[in-house]
Amino acid sequence: MKPLQRKLLRELMRLKGQMLAVAAVVACGISVFVSMSSVKHSLEVSRQRYYNKYRFADVFVQVKRAPEFYRETVSRIPGVASVSTRITADVTLDVPGLDEPATARLVSIPEYRTPVLNDIFLKKGRYIEPGKPEEVIASKPFLEANHLVPGDRISAVINGRKRSLLIVGMGLSPEYIYEVQPGSFFPDKRRFGVFWMGRRSLESALDMSGAFNDLSLTLAHGASEKDVIMRLDNLFKRYGSLGAYGRSEHLSDRFIVDEIKQVGIQITFLPVVFLAVAVFLLNIVLRRIVATQRDQIAVLKAIGYSNEDVGLHYLGFAMIPTAFGAVAGTLLGAWLGRGLMNIYTEFYNFAELVYYFRFEDVALSVLLSFAAAIFGALGAVRSAVQLPPAEAMRPDSPLLYKPGIFDRESLRKKIPVSVRIILRNLERRPWKAALSVLMTSLSVAILIAGRYTYDSLDRMVQVEFTAKHREDVTVIFNNPMPPRVRFNIASLDGVIEHEYYREEPVRMSFGHRVRRQSIKGMESVKGLQRLVDKANLQFSLPPDGILLTSTLAALLGVRPGDKLQIDFLQGRQLHTELLVSGTIDEILGLSAYMNLGALNRLAGDGGALTAAYLRLDQAKAGKLYTTFKDMPGVSGIMMLKAMKQSFDELIAQSMNTSTVILTTFACVLAFAVVYNGARISLSERARELTSLRVLGMTKGEISFILLGEQALLTIAAIPLGFLIGIGLSALLAHALSSELYRLPLVFSAFNFLFAFIVIVLVSVVSAFLVRRRLTSLDLVEVLKTRE
């Protein structure tokens, strides 16, 4: 090893605390980048492979009932590659061990296994056998959640008849990567499952011989999805189509695409913060090294080392910790990525979710961090290179101090000397102080932003599960029911309160913008169901006109007061015009609300009800559930409590993981900044402070001077960090918002308290470490050392 390299390594070892801090910050940044990039890539590839292998369709359309020959008609539409028709139905299930009824989405499959669109990946068991109408393949999440295995039986009410189904296989489909009950946002694995059943047996059970109610197709390369959808809409209008749609409106695909997009946002935002801090740290650490080694730089040059030699030598001080950070970050990133993928398997049901660790991601992140290291080191290295050797022989000239604002006669008398030294120091180098404050505040900000998602989801749960809904269950009807159904429901023993709504599928248009959307006609917004926006404010329902969620209004380009064109897709398919009476900024989905009476009048059909919200007498609930299980008109019930519980479980795991990761990383960041700041101050002022000791100050007094300055910087960083954290969270909320949901911007007091406590603890620990060095300074040695 060459002597210069040896010098480098030994001095790095001497500065190991500071260098480790730099390496740790780099490692955090790289691990986030590497893990998130690989997760993003893995999700993309897994999704694409799954879709290709199991032929996920491009366009979907549901109808009431259409003759099978339309399959031929559709396949002749230009741009259509392949078509498949199915029969689907939502039915109630009686799951062993579950009081309340569950819902199954029955989907028809060919009796003989042939490749179809939206094919099944058979995870366990076997395919159904022809001539055995009771055989079904059930979805994996449902079976696992209910501890069912192939061979078990389960009973269902199909078209009013109770039937016993034999589960022969466990399957997954690209159509249900995100498996939720229609009308719900959150998966409830116990109460909703997809069942694949032979086409013949479904045909006979639902009286659908020679007909289908679900069609999906794939597009030929280069075909226009929009054109095909238009033709399908024309074709199936009279068969009760609610409009054809592409993958972008497919709920399951939508969730995955959004997830991938969100991961992509995290790839950019976190690593940038970490790299910025790494740049800052390298900058201050290297400047200090070069400042203390002025004479050594001069000697190296006097001996005959070239400017490049000297420059590279000092660059090494930045590159080596960065390289360590890069290696550690890559390993950590690979490990984290794998862990995150495991969490994704809880949410998303892929046939195979393969973890792809890409060399390109590692290469890119390493390249970026080295670029950051060079950028951070540049100033210091340049000053080392440009230092004229003759000048470097002389010690650094003392900093220029002039009387500042704290030196006014009036103030001077009141402020003790030690405090004056602190204030003067900060005042003399305001930029350095400001940067230290900014960097510390970044770690506070990450803490805030990390816990913000927690608060935000908490608010989401509170609004969606408590504020908006007071019911115990939602009973969903098979078909829209006439208004008199309320008498049947009211007569059920145990129903305390009941309230109804109508979901009416329509096409809304404003100018050239068109959307398929359903209007929810509500009886009241003061009873079991409420209208609550993301700020947790209650809204009232306009007597006329339509209330749109802000996102929907934005998509349509309408503002309150505009007239919206409405085409009913069912019944008499009337066309009408509606006044947009207001907007509501809701958390989930896209919705349009109307007064039930007004909607009924517009539809011109004397009224229809889609579902009922019920509040139940808990003592009689069990018996009621049994009733619902056998009720032919009920396709399913949704239990608020169960949905909340399943959501909590699902979210808790992923949230805890990401909060732990972010909190850890923020601590690393805070520690790196605060500790390095204190160490550098110590190095800069060791002589001065020791001189003060020689003059008779106590260890406590000089500690106060050094650590007091750090404490002031930290105290200044906390409120700034809160502000940046709020800004960062708002940015995150905005970036992560989609048509599916908008994160409300809320912060709990605990969030700020937590960040405060963490930052204070980190500061105390680094103060303790630095104070140990400070008090062990050898008075004579320090004074002897030539700076």
Partner: protein
């Protein structure tokens, strides 16, 4: 000088000297250095600004030094002697005037040429030794042997200054005199043509200082290295072939000693 296009006739001279057997150069101690001029300074001035005050460090200095000469530059603090030494060593540039090394004008050299000049031809010894504290004695010397063209082994350089037994000690484990001897070993290991010593005994006590001067004299005698020692201590002048005195940036005396005293005979 790494660039072949900038090579001029002076390089031939350098090569010529380097190839001359030392014995030949040392044939006649009294006469040595008379033949070949190593360094010529003509009308050299240096001023710099300290705040708003102009400080004239050197005023119109003209001097020559010859091969194998041991010269002492005397002067009080602030007389400009360090500035002169830094300019000779290529660490600093004059405000006006010229410096020739073997006829080659170093004041016109590029940064790269100056680096090569320091790397090949100059050995520095500083008042505060300026050893790299994180490197051992041997490694401090290797710092030079690593990049020099025709160095002596680092161990040999340390033996030359009687430190063969402390090769692996770090600066903090060596006495001041030992540290200065390491610095001398570091300076001579590259077999420089010109050894420049800036107050080499300035930080040392009398006895240790004499030991260090002994080493310098030995190097000059045995290797024939042209040696310039700057000091404010007039007593050291006795060991030199030639004594040059500076006062307030001006040359006030330039004389030859007829006999050189051994450093051990010096008293101050």
């Amino acid at each position: 000088m790494n660039n072949p296009q900038v090579v001029d006739s002076s390089v031939d001279v350098i090569t010529h000297i380097q190839q001359r057997p030392l014995v030949e150069m040392l044939d006649d101690p009294l006469d040595r250095g008379q033949h070949i001029e190593v360094l010529r300074i003509t009308d050299l001035s240096k001023f710099y600004m300290m705040g708003e005050v102009r400080v004239d460090a050197l005023k119109h200095i003209s001097l020559e030094f010859h091969a194998g000469e041991l010269a002492v530059l005397l002067g009080a603090s602030g007389s400009g002697k360090s500035t002169l030494l830094n300019i000779i060593g290529g660490l600093d540039v004059p405000s006006s005037g010229k410096l020739f090394f073997h006829g080659r004008e170093m004041t016109a050299a590029t940064e790269a040429e100056l680096t090569a000049y320091r790397r090949r031809s100059i050995g520095f010894v500083f008042q505060f030794y300026n050893l790299i504290s994180s490197l051992s004695a041997l490694e401090n010397v290797q710092l030079v042997t690593e990049i020099a063209d025709n160095p002596m082994p680092a161990e040999e350089a340390l033996r030359l200054v009687d430190l063969g037994h402390r090769l692996n000690h770090f600066p903090a484990q060596l006495s001041g005199g030992e540290q200065q001897r390491v610095a001398i070993a570091r300076a001579v290991a590259k077999r420089p043509e010109l050894l420049l010593c800036d107050e080499p005994t300035g930080a040392l006590d009398f006895q240790t200082g004499k030991l260090v001067l002994d080493v310098l004299e030995k190097v000059n005698r045995e290797l024939g290295t042209t040696t310039l020692v700057i000091t404010h201590n007039a007593s050291i002048a006795g060991m030199a072939d030639r004594v040059v005195r500076l006062r307030s940036g001006e040359l006030s005396e330039d004389r030859q000693n007829l006999t050189r005293m051994s450093p051990s005979e010096l008293v101050w």
